[in-house]
Symmetry: C2
Subunit: 342 residues, 2 copies
DNA sequence: TCAAAAATCTGTAACGATACAGTTCGCTTG
DNA sequence: CAAGCGAACTGTATCGTTACAGATTTTTGA
C-alpha cells in the first residue's frame, strides 16, 4: 500500500503532553479520527474488536471529549441552567436546591450553570438569553406563575425545562412541586384541633401559582373545620422580614388579632414570632402556629411551633431528573412530581 | 474587479432567521469575516469608520459571539467555576455566596458554573478536573486549609483562582476572608466585660485555616482579659447540629460548664442554645453568648445573643472580583481582602 | 517620480468533533 | 465469473472564531 495514501487525518503525531483528543487515539490505534469517534459512540458500522481497542486506549489516556468541539459541531452544550432571582435570596432556599441538582448531575455529563436575573428585572430575560444563545440544553425555573410567559415561550420553542411549581395554562410540562394545598389544609386542621378559631395565613405573593394552592388548602380548611380566616393586609412572603414583622405586630395589636397562624415559610415564621412576642404574646398560650420549614432549626428555638418539613434538596433532585428526562425525550406527563411534608 | 475573486469568506448569504454570526455581519457590511472580527475587537489595523459601521450592524442584529467558537479557537471559556462541597450545606451559606458572585459576573461575559464534590470525597478532584479539561478560566474555592493542595496545584499551573479563606504556605494568592481572629478576640472581650469567666469556643474543624485564626483571637482574648478557656471536646462546626447539641448538653451538665460561649456559626449557635436550654439554663442568666451570624434572624428569636454579622454576599462579590482580576493579570497582592463583622 | 512605508482589508488554516458521502475488500449469488 | 452486497473503515466539509501571513491601496519621503 502506498504510504502516502495512508491516514492523512491523523498524520501529525499529537503531542502526548497535551490533553488527548480523538486525534491522539487515532494515532495510537492507527485508525482514522472518524472511526475513533464512531467507535466511542458504539456506532453499528464499527467492528466489535475495534471498538474494544478504541475504548481501551481512550480509557488509558483518559480521553474526555472537548466540550467546545462537541458544542460547536452539534449544538449540544451539556449544560443545565438554573435560572435564579437574586432577590429570591430570603433565607437561602437556593443552597439545598443547588445541592440537590448537583447530586443528580454529578453522574451525568451535565454541568450546572447559574443564570441570575436582577432585582425586579424581567424574569423572561434570562430564559430568552438561554434560548437565543443556546447557552444550555435545559432550564430549571422557579417562582412559577399560573400563566407563566417563560413556560409559554419554552413550550413554543420546544425547549426542555422543568419548573419548581406548577402552572395553570392547560400546558403539560415537567415540574416538581410541594403540596402546598395539603400543607395549608393540614395546618388549619391542626390549629382547629387545638381549639384555635381565628386563623391568619402568611402566604406567597398572589402572582405565584403556589399562592393559589396554599390559599385553596387554607380556605377549605377554614370551611371544613369551622374556623375563621383573619386577613393579613397586603403583606406576603415577598415582603422583607422587617415588613412582615411590623405588619404582624400591628395585626396582633388590633381587635382583629388571630389566635392561630399558618406560615408558608420558615423565614417568615421568624418574623411573625418576633412580631408576636414584641406585643407580649406567647406561642401555645395566646396563639398556635404551624410553619412550613426547610430544616428543623426553628423547632430548636421555638419547639412550640408545629413544623412541617419541605425537603428542598429532594426538589432539586426531582427537578434535575425531570429536565434530563425531557432532554432524553421522555413525555412530560411522566416528569411531574409532587411531594408532601415530611 | 473580477467578481469571482470577491469575498469567498462571506459568499453564502447567511439566513437572517438564525442567530447572527460574524458571517452575517460580514455579509451585511460587505466586509470579510476577519475584518468584522477584528473590528469588533477594536484592532488597530481597522479603519475608524469601518469599526463604526460594524459595531452598528452588530448591535442592530444583536450579535453575540458564539461561546463554543471562541472557546474552541482560543481556549477561553468565559466561565468561573465555584467549587462546592455538597456537605458544606449546613445552614446554606452557599446561597449568599452564589448571589454575590452572580451580581459581579452579571456585568461581565462570565458564566458561573457550580462544580461540586461529593460527600467526604477528595477536594482536589474537582480542581483537577477543571484544570485538566480547561472547564473554566478561573476557580473559587472555600474551606481553605493552611497547606492547601488545591492552592498549590493551581499556583503551580499558574491558574487563576481565589480562595474563601487564607492559606499559610508562603504563597501569595487572591483571597477573601473574614477576620475571624478579630471576631473571636472581640467576642471574648464582650463576655469578659459581662463578667463571664469561663469561656467555651465552638470552632471550625482544625484542618481549616480559619480554625487557627479564630483560635488565635480567642486565646489572646482569654489571656488579655484574664478569663479561662473551657475545652469543648472534639466537637466542631463540621459536626452535625445534633451532635453539637448533644455534646454541649453534656458539657453543660458537667462540672466544667462554661458561663460564656463564643460560636463560630449561626447554625451552630442554634444547636448550642438548644443544648443549653435542654439542661434548664438560660441566656444572660447563666451564660452569655456571642455568635457570628450570616443574617440577623437569630437575634429575632434570641435577642439575648450578642451577634456579629458576617456579610457572605459581600464575600461572594469580593471573590468574584478577585478571580476576574487575576484572570486580567492583576498581581495577587492587590486581590486580597479581609472583612470585619458589621 | 517612484520606491518604501503605512493603512486597511482579506483568505487560509486551525481549534475538536461529527454528519455525510464515499472507499475498500472479501463474499455471495445468479 | 462478474455484478452486487454488506461490513468496516475513512476523507472532507463544517460548526464560529481568531492567528497569521499576505494583498491592495494610499500616503510619504527623497
Amino acid at each position: 500500500m502506498d504510504e502516502k495514501t495512508k491516514s492523512k487525518q491523523a498524520s501529525a503525531s499529537p503531542s502526548l503532553q497535551e490533553r488527548p483528543t480523538l486525534k491522539t487515539i487515532a494515532f495510537m490505534t492507527g485508525l482514522g479520527i472518524t472511526t475513533v469517534s464512531r467507535a466511542l459512540k458504539d456506532a453499528p458500522d464499527i467492528g466489535a474488536e475495534t471498538k474494544e481497542r478504541v475504548r481501551l486506549v481512550a480509557k488509558q489516556v483518559g480521553y474526555q471529549p472537548n466540550r467546545a468541539g462537541v458544542r460547536l459541531r452539534t449544538g449540544k452544550t451539556n449544560v443545565i441552567s438554573l435560572v435564579l432571582s437574586l432577590e429570591e435570596e430570603v433565607m437561602g432556599l437556593t443552597s439545598p436546591i443547588v445541592v440537590g441538582i448537583s447530586e443528580v448531575l454529578a453522574s451525568t455529563p451535565y454541568h450546572l450553570v447559574i443564570t441570575p436575573y436582577g432585582f425586579s428585572k424581567d424574569a423572561l430575560a434570562p430564559v430568552r438569553y438561554v434560548l437565543d444563545t443556546g447557552a444550555a440544553d435545559g432550564v430549571i425555573i422557579s417562582r412559577t406563575e399560573p400563566k407563566d410567559p417563560r413556560v409559554e415561550l419554552m413550550m413554543e420553542r420546544n425547549f426542555p425545562f422543568a419548573t419548581h411549581g406548577r402552572t395553570d395554562m392547560g400546558l403539560i410540562h415537567p415540574y416538581h412541586d410541594f403540596d402546598n394545598e395539603g400543607f395549608a389544609y393540614e395546618a388549619v386542621r391542626r390549629l382547629a384541633e387545638l381549639g384555635r378559631k381565628r386563623i391568619v395565613l402568611l402566604q406567597p405573593p398572589p402572582h405565584l401559582t403556589f399562592h393559589r394552592h396554599m390559599r385553596k388548602g387554607f380556605d377549605e380548611g377554614i370551611r371544613d373545620f369551622g374556623v375563621e380566616a383573619v386577613a393579613f393586609g397586603a403583606v406576603d412572603l415577598d415582603n422583607s422580614l422587617t415588613e412582615i414583622r411590623a405588619a404582624f405586630e400591628t395585626l396582633m395589636r388590633s381587635d382583629d388579632a388571630p389566635d392561630g397562624i399558618v406560615s408558608g415559610s420558615g423565614a417568615g415564621s421568624i418574623a411573625l414570632i418576633a412580631g408576636l412576642e414584641a406585643v407580649g404574646k406567647k406561642l401555645t398560650q395566646h396563639v398556635d402556629m404551624v410553619s412550613k420549614v426547610p430544616s428543623d432549626f426553628l423547632s430548636w428555638l421555638r419547639p412550640e411551633v408545629i413544623t412541617m418539613n419541605e425537603d428542598i434538596r429532594h426538589a432539586g433532585r426531582e427537578l434535575a431528573k425531570a429536565v434530563i428526562g425531557r432532554i432524553a425525550g421522555l413525555p412530560a406527563e411522566e416528569l411531574q412530581s409532587l411531594s408532601r411534608a415530611i
